[in-house]
Symmetry: C3
Subunit: 143 residues, 3 copies
Amino acid sequence: MKQLVTALMVGVFAALSGCASAPWASGKTTMSHAVLQVSDNDPHKWNLALNNAENMQEALGKDNIQIEIVAYGPGLNMLKADSKVAPRLNAALDANVELAACATTMRKMKVTKADLVGGATVVPGGVIEIMKRQSEGWAYIRP
Amino acid sequence: MKQLVTALMVGVFAALSGCASAPWASGKTTMSHAVLQVSDNDPHKWNLALNNAENMQEALGKDNIQIEIVAYGPGLNMLKADSKVAPRLNAALDANVELAACATTMRKMKVTKADLVGGATVVPGGVIEIMKRQSEGWAYIRP
Amino acid sequence: MKQLVTALMVGVFAALSGCASAPWASGKTTMSHAVLQVSDNDPHKWNLALNNAENMQEALGKDNIQIEIVAYGPGLNMLKADSKVAPRLNAALDANVELAACATTMRKMKVTKADLVGGATVVPGGVIEIMKRQSEGWAYIRP
């Protein structure tokens, strides 16, 4: 009997902590996550997204936040090797910011992986990637 | 006593599964949901939103995702019958994408339901609709 | 023994209600929360954000929604005392809409608190503030 009650209490505590540790319920998670959307063909927006990533890393500490910049639609140009922000892209990759290009947009714009800045990853769909990240509890930032 | 403990266990399992089945906690939900915001008077943005909807349906399967495009503010023009993207709106409606126009904007811009593409729905407030969808766990995409 | 079981039941109910009362799981929360992002140097966007705040307050009742407009990057200009929307900012503050300026942007643009409309608050980082609010369950609106 006592063991059963103990088992129940473990269950209750698991349920309680399961709720309490959800990202939206507690500020105590050590790792934060943010997905940034770039869908404009506008270098000002590209720089703003890169500034956002830098500021988040400075504020929380580089090891405490995982950042993914997803470029799709007209925003894909950001991640091309000849992009106006190419030097900043390399710095972002060095700082462990993930740069994800949308494969659907790449096909439409006849852009291959070789056209992208080295280190960029390719995701099947930009908007699907953003949706997936939100469902995983990542913050969504649309600069 | 034993019945009481059994009842408790049922409660614990309900609590546990209640948490575990939250959309952000599990990738196993078969139905995805996304609300897309259109608030710019810019046909490029309208096409991008429609592309996003198409791509999401292609990636996940049309029956596995519920999509609502909410047009408000200057974006309301997207849903007018004389919109530049009117043919694409009909295709989207045929593919079960919901097109929602903001009643508050309609009043301000003196647009009536008769001015909208047939099949569009009217919601009391665009931004309230988007807020409500997020609170229901829908992904938010702002093209 | 009976007391232990009672304590357990209280725990179970707490766990159940803890899950059920999460903002995304229930439409019954009396207080809604929304964070609005302003990151464009565009008075049309500023007015749209202020319209959004007004409409949300009208729809839900001023006392039932907490709204924070976060201005960062090129959007910081919205909150300057000489902003084109300064009179509307005062009205928004009177209606308990919080106006938050990004300290990081302020440093970069050499803007001090004295340059801002009276009543604006300063947050360490605009994008961090938005991320924090999302993690707290606030709806995110990017006009």
